[in-house]
């Protein structure tokens, strides 16, 4: 099995951390995995995205052209990636910010007000973990436990005190689906 995933949103929404957490967890589960960000001038426009591929085999194409899964954290990202989704793909949309519905009828849509849910935990910065927790439950690609365990790998030394609250956000997202 090979899972092609795009995570996209504004710079500052923790998109890269979300991707790296997913990648670490996949590695800890013994899978082949690749993570690659969009880089350079593309970032200047304020949007950020990364491709994560999780596979049992050698990964042939680390840059995802046609995602089967996506987490969409803002409107420009929905506009950009909805047309690119593979048929019947799973798309998780942060409805706290995204102000339109997914138009494609074939997609399996999860609407989740990630920012609002995060605010209940005290800070909208946990929106990415809410999204990832929900994604985890919806797709079953990765185990919640592994995500939680891998948090220490992606948070900087200064932020290790935030492991617990991020774990809570993952759990919360998981339960919302």
């Amino acid at each position: 099995m090979e899972h092609k995933i795009i995570l996209a949103g504004f710079g500052g929404q923790g998109i890269m951390v979300m991707g790296r957490l997913l990648a670490y967890a996949a590695m800890h589960e013994g899978k082949n995995v690749s993570w690659i960000p969009s880089y350079g001038v593309e970032q200047r426009g304020g949007t950020a995205n990364c491709s994560v591929v999780i596979s049992d085999e050698i990964i042939a194409a680390p840059i995802v052209a046609e995602p089967a899964y996506s987490i969409i954290m803002n409107r420009p990202s929905l506009d950009k990636f909805e047309p690119k989704m593979a048929p019947k793909g799973v798309i998780l949309v942060n409805t706290s910010i995204v102000d339109r519905d997914v138009e494609r009828k074939d997609l399996d849509v999860v609407n989740l007000a990630c920012n609002d849910e995060a605010l209940e935990l005290g800070d909208i910065r946990y929106a990415n973990m809410i999204a990832l927790g929900a994604f985890c439950k919806k797709t079953g690609i990765i185990k919640l436990e592994t995500l939680k365990k891998s948090l220490k790998n992606v948070l900087s030394a200064r932020r290790q005190n935030l492991v617990e609250i991020n774990q809570k956000a993952l759990e919360k997202g998981y339960q919302l689906v």
Binding site: R20, V33, P37, V41, I58, A60, A61, P62
Partner: protein, 350 residues
């Protein structure tokens, strides 16, 4: 060792260099290899080794010339436009027979081009981008793991043959994170002593590091030495990988990032009952010409896939030597082949 890390290719290059015993790193920022310079700016200082952000790539490669002349393991890295600037120094390193490692995380060219992954510097790396008759040992990794492995080998082979070596990656490999396990370096086992190094002439005749050989037959003789070394490298260091080539009607040839889509394409086409294989040079100099020549006896057609306008294509043609048609698929300046594209292209060949 043995522990698995999830790292960016650029960072894995840096850590591997440290493991390989790189004592001095000199670099200048350029996308998409910035993480390597940044990584070294921290780790080399932590290790008490030498790090300099030079004023230019030109300066960086000449700092390498100096550190290599001191007999130290040394490295510089850049991306295409910066590697162009290093060509003068690389020619001098080759001429003066100094071992050093140069990393090129290639991006789109010519000129300023763009910052997307590309393979447009193949000619420059394998033909000698600077002046004179010289070669580099050129590694072409296709994963973060291979980037780490190759840096370690690049240091070793540079010392073994007293010549510069290059790790030729691209923006995709540099930016990508994958799991990596760092291997144990061979250390100095089997390496000649660096008795030519400039360490002060106490107790021995003085040493001179140079490529200038005016008068008489000096340069001729020097170049004959180089010829002999290059022949040895060609005899000993050919490295390649074969995938499903035994009964392949169509043989793909690719290296680096382009080879990953080809691996996927072979998998896909085999599942559909098509006899397709892949030859993947792990070093692009020395080049596995003989392997291609042999393959040309059984394979009906070849397809070279590169992220450029067709550069390794020349080498495949030399290897295949007219025994089978060699076709090409590739674009320059920021294009990465997808599995589907390669599959479609191969299907046209049946």
């Amino acid at each position: 060792m043995g522990e698995k890390f999830l790292m960016k290719g650029n960072e894995a290059l840096g850590e591997a260099a440290i493991i390989a015993g790189c004592e001095a790193y000199f670099g200048y920022p350029i996308t998409p290899q910035n993480e390597l310079t940044a990584y070294m700016s921290k780790r080399m200082l932590e290790e008490g080794r030498v790090f300099v952000q030079s004023e230019s790539e030109l300066a960086a490669v000449n700092m390498v010339f100096g550190a290599a002349g001191a007999g130290k393991r040394t490295m510089t890295s850049s991306s295409s436009p910066g590697v162009s600037l290093k060509q003068e120094g690389i020619s001098y390193l080759a001429g003066a027979r100094l071992p050093a490692v140069i990393v090129n995380v290639m991006r789109g060219g010519p000129g300023l081009g763009n910052i997307s992954p590309a393979q447009g510097d193949y000619y420059q790396a394998t033909r000698g981008g600077g002046n004179g008759d010289y070669r580099l040992i050129v590694f072409a990794p296709n994963s973060v793991q291979e980037m780490a492995d190759d840096v370690i080998d690049a240091f070793y082979l540079a010392d073994k043959y007293r010549m510069p070596s290059m790790v030729m990656a691209d923006g995709m490999l540099g930016q990508m994170m994958e799991p990596v396990v760092f291997k144990e370096p061979k250390g100095n086992k089997g390496l000649p002593p660096k008795d030519w190094a400039l360490t002060g002439a106490k107790g021995r005749p003085r040493n001179i590091v140079r490529s200038l050989m005016l008068g008489g037959t000096g340069l001729y003789e020097h170049n004959e030495v180089l010829r002999k070394i290059y022949a040895e490298v060609e005899a000993n260091e050919i490295r390649y990988e074969e995938l499903e080539t035994a009964d392949a009607d169509v043989t793909l040839v690719a290296y680096g990032s382009a080879s990953r889509a080809c691996i996927g394409a072979v998998r896909h086409l085999r599942a559909a009952g098509k006899k397709v294989g892949l030859i993947r040079p792990r070093l692009v100099w020395p080049y596995p010409y003989k392997v291609l020549e042999k393959q040309a006896e059984k394979s009906k057609k070849f397809l070279v896939v590169e992220m450029n306008l067709g550069q390794m294509l020349d080498d495949v043609r030399i290897g295949v030597a007219g025994k089978a048609p060699v076709e090409f698929y590739g674009y320059a300046g920021g294009w990465i082949p997808t599995v589907k594209e390669v599959v479609d292209r191969v299907n046209q060949m049946f």
